[in-house]
C-alpha cells in the first residue's frame, strides 16, 4: 500500500516535471534537413531556427546492418533537402514527434516513416495506426507488404 502511494507520488512528480520541460511543438513546418542522426531522428532547419524531429509511428533497430541501411535510406531521401514535418506530439526532452515528408523534385512527396516500413527498414509502433495520425491503416498495410515481400527486417524468419 505504502509503495503504491510512493509510486503515485513519483508518477505525479514526473507528470509535473513533464509540464515544466521546454516544449517545442506546433503544426506543420517546412525547412531543410541538416542532419540525419538516425533513421528516425533528423534535424529540420526552418530558416530562423531548427528542431529535432523524431519520426512518428515507427521503430528502427538501434544497431546492426538494418540500422545502418535505414539511416542511409533516410539520408538519401532527405539529407540536405527540403522537407515538411507534420507534428504529432513531442517527447519529454523536447523532440518533435512528427510525420516527415520529402519535398524533392525527383522523389516527390513521400512519407519517410511509411517508406521505411514499406522497405522493411522499420517496424510500425505498437498501437492502432490512427494513434500515429495514419487514418487509413497505411502503416499496417505497408508493414504487411514488406513482410509478404520479405524485405529488410522481414527477410529472415526472425526479424532483427
Amino acid at each position: 500500500m505504502r509503495n503504491k502511494r510512493i509510486m503515485q507520488c513519483v508518477v505525479a512528480c514526473l507528470v509535473m516535471l513533464t509540464g515544466l520541460l521546454p516544449v517545442f511543438a506546433g503544426d506543420s513546418l517546412y525547412g531543410k534537413v541538416t542532419e540525419v542522426r538516425s533513421a528516425d531522428v533528423v534535424v529540420l532547419d526552418y530558416g530562423a531556427g531548427s528542431y529535432v524531429i523524431r519520426v512518428m509511428g515507427i521503430v528502427v533497430p538501434a544497431e546492426g546492418p538494418i540500422a545502418n541501411e535505414s539511416k542511409q535510406f533516410v539520408s538519401k531521401l532527405v539529407q540536405g533537402k527540403n522537407a515538411r514535418m507534420r507534428l504529432g506530439s513531442r517527447t519529454e526532452n523536447g523532440e518533435m514527434v512528427a510525420r516527415l515528408y520529402t519535398d524533392d523534385p525527383v522523389n516527390g512527396i513521400k512519407d519517410v516513416g511509411l517508406e521505411l516500413v514499406r522497405s522493411g527498414l522499420a517496424r510500425r509502433s505498437q498501437g492502432e495506426d490512427y494513434q500515429f495520425d495514419y487514418k487509413y491503416n497505411e502503416l499496417s498495410t505497408a508493414e504487411r507488404e514488406a513482410r509478404e515481400s520479405k524485405r529488410g527486417l522481414w527477410a529472415t524468419a526472425q526479424p532483427q
Binding site: 503544426d27 513546418l29 517546412y30 527540403n82 515538411r84 506530439s89 515528408y101 519535398d103 512527396i109
Partner: protein, 863 residues
C-alpha cells in the same frame, strides 16, 4: 399631510432606499449562448473544426472537423444549429471508403458558402500532397470534387468565397500561394477554371494564415513569419487589388508584430503549442438607405479586421486576443491594437476566430480562454461582439459560451510517441443574420452525450446572440449587455437598432405622482416617472405599430396593431411578414411576439390602467444582434449606451445634477425619434412632437402635469402582495417600485406575464427531409421545439400539431426527448404547400406555446 402620512412616506422611502441603494450586481454577460450542442457524438476525437452558415438561408449551417479515425467529421443543420444531421451514416466525408464523399482526407478542413448557394469544402488529402476543394450545391448533402491542387508539399489551406470570386490560399513548399476562380451562379457550370498559381511575395517561411475577399473584389492574405519558434514573429499581409485580374499579389506589409511565435507553448496547449492564429474579416454591409435599411451602409463598409494572439513578452503564457483594422485593404493598419479579452488575469487566451455579419457590419470574435483555470491549463469557449459604429470597434463584455471546461488531453492522452494534437490549430466561427456560431473541440462532456466521456474531444457548437433586453414598467431598462437603469424621459425614443434594418421605438408618457419610492441604484437619480404607452418596429420590409387608438379616445378593449399603417386583426395563425418576420399572439391578453428576420424576438405585454384610462406596455427583446439605442450596449468606459453617432457618454459625472442633464437632455434628445425617423402611426395633425415633453422627467418632485390628477401611491404591503409571484429579484424590485409609485397593482400582472413569456418562451422550426417530392413519395417533416437562453438545456415537452396550408394535418405528435416530433406523409397533392408546426406544451408546463414559420414544400405532378 399628518404625522401618520409622513411616517408612511418616510418608512416607504427608507425601505426603497435600502432596496435600491444596495450595491448593484455585476454586469451580466453582454452576449450570451443558448444551450450548447454536441455536433459529433462520435467515438475517438474530433478537433480543428470549421463552421459556415448559408448567407441566403439563416437556418442552414455546415460544419467539418478533423476526425482521428479517418475522413472529416461532417454535419449539417437545417434549423439554425439546434439539431445536426450527417451526409453519411459514418458522420464523415472524404473517408476513403465512398468516392462520392470526396478523396480521402488528412486534415485541416475549411469552409466557405457564397450567396449563390455554393458550399466550398477545402482540405488536405490523405497523402498530404494535394489541396482538395469539394463543392456542394445542396447545403452539404452531396459533394463533387471541384479542384485538386498538387501534388506538392502543402499545408494550412483556407477557402473563401464572395463578390463573385472563390479563392484558396495555402502554404506550398514553405511559401504562401493562392488560386482564384470567378463564380457567376450555382454549380460547377457557373464556376470558372481556377487561374494560375499565384506565388505570394515575401512569404517564405510564413504560414498559419487566412484570406479574405474585399467587397471591391480585392483579395488579402495574412500569414505568420517565421512559422517556427516561440516568437517574436510578424503577421505579413499581401493584397491583390485587382482580384481575379492579371496583376500579382503586392509586396508584403507587416500588419503587426507578435510575441506569439508559430510554436509557442502555453500550459493549456503545452504539446501542440499555439501560433498567433491570424484571421481576417471584412465589413460587407453596404445596405442602401431604404425603408428596409434606414441606416444605410455600415459606417465602415469595406473595413478589414485582423484578429491575432499576442503576449507581453516572448514565452509569456499571458496570451491575449487582439484586433487591428485597415481601411485600405491591408496597406496600413490601426495602432494601437484593441485588446478583445477583458479578463484581469495573466492567463491564456488562444485560438481566436473572427467573423463579420454581412447584414450589419457587426463583428464577432470567439476564442479558447483559460481565465477561470487556476492552473491556466484548461479552457472554456468565450465570445464577444462589437458594432461598426464609432471610429474603432468597442467590444462588449466577454461571455463564456461553453457550458463545460475542457483540457488539452482530449486527442490522444499523452502516450509516448503517439499523435496528440490537443485542441489543434484553430477553431471555427460563422456569423450571419444575427447569430454567431462558434465551433470547438470539447472534452468536458457537458452535454452528457460524448461516447468517450471526458477522455476525447467531440465537436461542440452554440448560438451566440445579444443578451435579453427589457424595457418594463416605469421604464426600468435592462440593456442588451445586462445593465439595469431607469429611463423616465417623455416622448418617442429609439430603444434598439441595427444596421441590417432592425429598429424598435417606444413611446413614453409622463405620469403625475405624489411619491417617488427611491433613487435608481445605477445613477442615484430619483426623478419623476413615465410609462411605455406604445411601441413601433421596423421588421424586414415592414413597419409594425402597436398603439392606443389614434383618435386619442381610450379603448380598454385593446391596443391597435398596424402593419405599414393598415389596421390588422391578429388571428391565431399570426401575420407573416416575409423573410422570417412575423407577428403572433403570446399567452398574455393582448400580448404580441414580433419575430424579426435576423432572429430577434420582441415581446409586448400590455396592461390596462382603469383609473387612468391608459394602456401601458412591457417591452422585452431577446435573441437580438442589435446593440444600439437606449437599450444598447453600455461600454465599459461609460455609464450609458453610446449616442447614435457612436460617441461615448463617458464616465458617470460626480454630481447628480450633471447626471440628470447628461441622461435626460444630451442622451435622451440624441435618441429621440424625429418626424423623419419615426415608425409610429399618428392621427392627422399630430406627430412625434405631440408626445414629446422635453422637460420630463422633472429632476425633483412635485411630479405635476398640468390638468392631470396625480396618482396616489400604494402601500408597501399592497405592493408586496401584488408582486409576490415575481421571482426574479430585480424585476420584483421594479414591480414594487411601480406599484408603490403609481398605486396600480395591475403592474404586477404585466410583470408576471412578461416573466412567464421570458422564462418559458419557445421557438418551433419545421424542416422536411427532401424537397421537392413526387406524388405519393413519402416526405417526413420534423418539428423542433427549443426553449430560450433562460431555459437553457431543458427540453420542452408536449405535442406538436402539424399544419398544412392552414389546416391541421393529423393528430398532434408527441415530442421526443430531443424536443422533436416527426410527421410522415405521402398524400400531399401536386403543387406548393406551406407546412407549419404548432407546439402545445404539457399541462402545467412552464414552456409557452409557439408556432413555426411556414416551410414551403413542393410536390411535383406526374411528368
Amino acid at each position: 399631510m399628518n404625522c401618520k402620512s409622513y411616517l408612511f412616506v418616510f418608512v416607504q422611502a427608507a425601505v426603497f432606499a435600502t432596496m435600491f441603494l444596495l450595491p448593484g450586481s455585476a454586469l451580466n454577460a453582454q452576449v450570451s449562448g443558448l444551450a450548447e450542442r454536441n455536433m459529433s457524438k462520435m467515438a475517438n476525437y474530433q478537433n480543428e473544426c470549421a463552421i459556415i452558415k448559408n448567407p441566403t438561408n439563416k437556418l442552414q449551417l455546415f460544419s467539418l472537423c478533423n476526425n482521428s479515425t479517418g475522413g472529416l467529421f461532417a454535419a449539417r443543420s437545417a434549423d439554425g444549429g439546434a439539431t445536426w444531421v450527417y451526409p453519411d451514416p459514418s458522420k464523415t466525408i472524404a473517408n476513403g471508403i465512398k468516392p462520392a464523399l470526396g478523396p480521402a482526407a488528412c486534415c485541416d478542413p475549411t469552409l466557405a458558402w457564397d450567396t449563390f448557394g455554393n458550399l466550398y469544402i477545402t482540405y488536405i488529402d490523405s497523402g498530404v500532397s494535394n489541396i482538395i476543394t469539394l463543392l456542394s450545391i445542396d447545403g452539404g448533402q452531396t459533394f463533387a470534387t471541384l479542384a485538386t491542387f498538387g501534388p506538392a508539399s502543402v499545408d494550412q489551406p483556407t477557402v473563401t468565397a464572395d463578390s463573385g470570386e472563390v479563392w484558396v490560399v495555402w502554404n506550398q513548399s514553405g511559401s504562401m500561394v493562392a488560386r482564384g476562380a470567378a463564380v457567376t451562379g450555382l454549380g460547377t457550370a457557373n464556376i470558372g477554371a481556377f487561374g494560375p498559381l499565384q506565388n505570394i511575395p515575401g512569404t517564405a517561411g510564413c504560414s498559419f494564415g487566412d484570406i479574405a475577399i474585399a467587397p471591391n473584389g480585392a483579395v488579402v492574405q495574412v500569414c505568420e513569419s517565421p512559422s517556427g519558434g516561440v516568437g517574436p514573429a510578424s503577421l505579413i499581409v499581401n493584397t491583390k487589388a485587382d482580384g481575379l485580374g492579371p496583376n500579382p499579389f503586392a509586396a508584403a506589409v507587416t500588419a503587426t508584430a507578435t510575441n506569439v511565435g508559430g510554436f509557442a507553448p502555453i500550459p493549456a496547449q503545452s504539446r501542440r503549442t499555439i501560433d498567433s492564429e491570424a484571421g481576417l474579416a471584412y465589413d460587407r454591409n453596404n445596405n442602401p438607405v431604404s425603408p428596409a435599411t434606414p441606416l444605410g451602409p455600415s459606417p465602415h463598409f469595406g473595413r478589414l479586421y485582423l484578429v491575432y494572439t499576442d503576449a507581453p513578452a516572448v514565452g509569456s503564457a499571458d496570451t491575449n486576443i487582439m484586433v487591428r483594422f485597415s481601411d485600405n485593404d491591408g496597406a496600413t493598419w490601426s495602432n494601437p491594437p484593441i485588446r478583445v479579452n477583458d479578463d484581469a488575469t495573466t492567463r491564456s487566451q488562444f485560438l481566436p476566430r473572427i467573423a463579420s455579419n454581412r447584414l450589419s457590419g457587426n463583428i464577432a470574435v470567439c476564442w479558447h480562454d483559460a481565465r477561470n483555470s487556476a492552473g491556466n491549463n484548461t479552457m472554456q469557449e468565450f465570445c464577444t461582439v462589437a458594432t461598426p459604429t464609432g471610429a474603432s470597434p468597442i467590444f462588449m463584455a466577454n461571455a463564456q459560451i461553453s457550458g463545460g471546461t475542457s483540457d488539452g488531453n482530449g486527442s490522444n492522452p499523452p502516450a509516448a510517441g503517439q499523435a496528440d494534437i490537443q485542441f489543434g490549430d484553430y477553431s471555427g466561427l460563422a456569423y450571419h443574420q444575427g447569430l454567431a456560431h462558434p465551433a470547438w473541440a470539447d472534452d468536458s462532456n457537458s452535454t452528457g452525450d460524448n461516447p468517450d466521456g471526458t477522455s476525447r474531444y467531440d465537436a461542440y457548437t452554440n448560438e451566440v446572440t445579444g443578451g435579453p433586453a427589457a424595457h418594463e414598467g416605469d421604464p426600468h431598462l435592462t440593456t442588451v449587455n445586462g445593465v439595469h437603469y431607469d429611463f423616465q424621459g417623455a416622448g418617442e425614443f429609439t430603444v434598439l437598432r441595427d444596421y441590417d434594418g432592425l429598429e424598435i421605438q417606444t413611446r413614453q408618457s409622463p405620469i403625475a405622482t405624489t411619491f417617488n419610492p427611491g433613487a435608481d441604484p445605477h445613477d442615484g437619480l430619483a426623478t419623476c416617472v413615465s410609462l411605455n404607452t406604445a411601441v413601433a418596429a421596423h421588421v424586414g420590409k415592414h413597419r409594425v405599430t402597436y398603439e392606443p387608438n389614434l383618435s386619442g379616445v381610450p379603448d380598454p378593449s385593446g391596443l391597435q396593431l398596424r402593419v405599414d399603417g393598415t389596421l390588422k386583426t391578429l388571428g391565431p395563425s399570426g401575420i407573416d411578414l416575409g423573410d422570417g418576420g412575423r407577428i403572433v399572439q403570446t399567452s398574455a391578453p393582448g400580448g404580441l411576439e414580433v419575430d424579426f428576420p435576423d432572429e430577434t424576438s420582441l415581446f409586448v405585454t400590455p396592461g390596462w390602467w382603469p383609473s387612468q384610462s391608459k394602456w401601458y406596455l412591457n417591452v422585452d427583446v431577446s435573441h437580438t444582434p442589435a446593440l444600439e439605442g437606449v437599450l444598447g450596449v453600455i461600454p465599459q468606459s461609460s455609464w450609458l449606451p453610446d449616442l447614435p453617432d457612436g460617441t461615448s457618454m463617458g464616465p458617470m459625472p460626480g454630481a447628480l445634477h450633471d447626471r440628470y442633464t447628461d441622461l435626460y437632455q444630451k442622451f435622451a434628445d440624441a435618441w429621440r425619434v424625429t418626424n423623419k425617423t419615426s415608425l409610429f402611426d399618428y392621427k392627422r395633425g399630430t406627430s412625434t412632437k405631440t408626445f414629446t415633453m422635453r422637460n420630463w422627467p422633472l429632476e425633483h418632485p412635485p411630479c405635476v402635469i398640468p390638468r392631470t390628477k396625480p396618482v396616489r401611491p400604494a402601500s408597501q404591503l399592497v405592493a408586496e402582495r401584488a408582486c409576490r409571484p415575481i421571482t426574479d429579484e430585480k424585476t420584483h424590485a421594479n414591480c414594487l417600485f411601480d406599484v408603490v409609485a403609481t398605486g396600480n397593482p395591475g403592474f404586477a400582472k404585466t410583470y408576471l406575464f412578461s416573466q412567464q413569456i421570458h422564462t418559458g418562451s419557445t421557438t418551433t422550426t419545421v424542416t422536411d427531409d427532401k424537397n421537392p417530392t413526387h406524388v405519393e413519395e413519402p416526405v417526413t417533416f420534423t418539428a423542433t421545439v427549443r426553449g430560450t437562453e433562460v431555459t437553457g438545456n431543458e427540453v420542452p415537452a408536449g405535442t406538436v400539431q402539424f399544419i398544412v396550408d392552414g389546416d391541421r394535418a393529423g393528430e398532434p405528435v408527441r415530442l421526443d426527448e430531443k424536443g422533436q416530433a416527426m410527421w410522415k406523409t405521402s398524400s400531399l397533392k401536386p403543387g406548393k404547400h406551406e407546412v407549419a408546426a404548432h407546439y402545445i406544451p404539457n399541462p402545467g408546463s412552464a414552456f409557452q406555446p409557439s408556432t413555426s414559420a411556414d416551410e414551403e414544400h413542393t410536390v411535383r405532378g406526374e411528368d
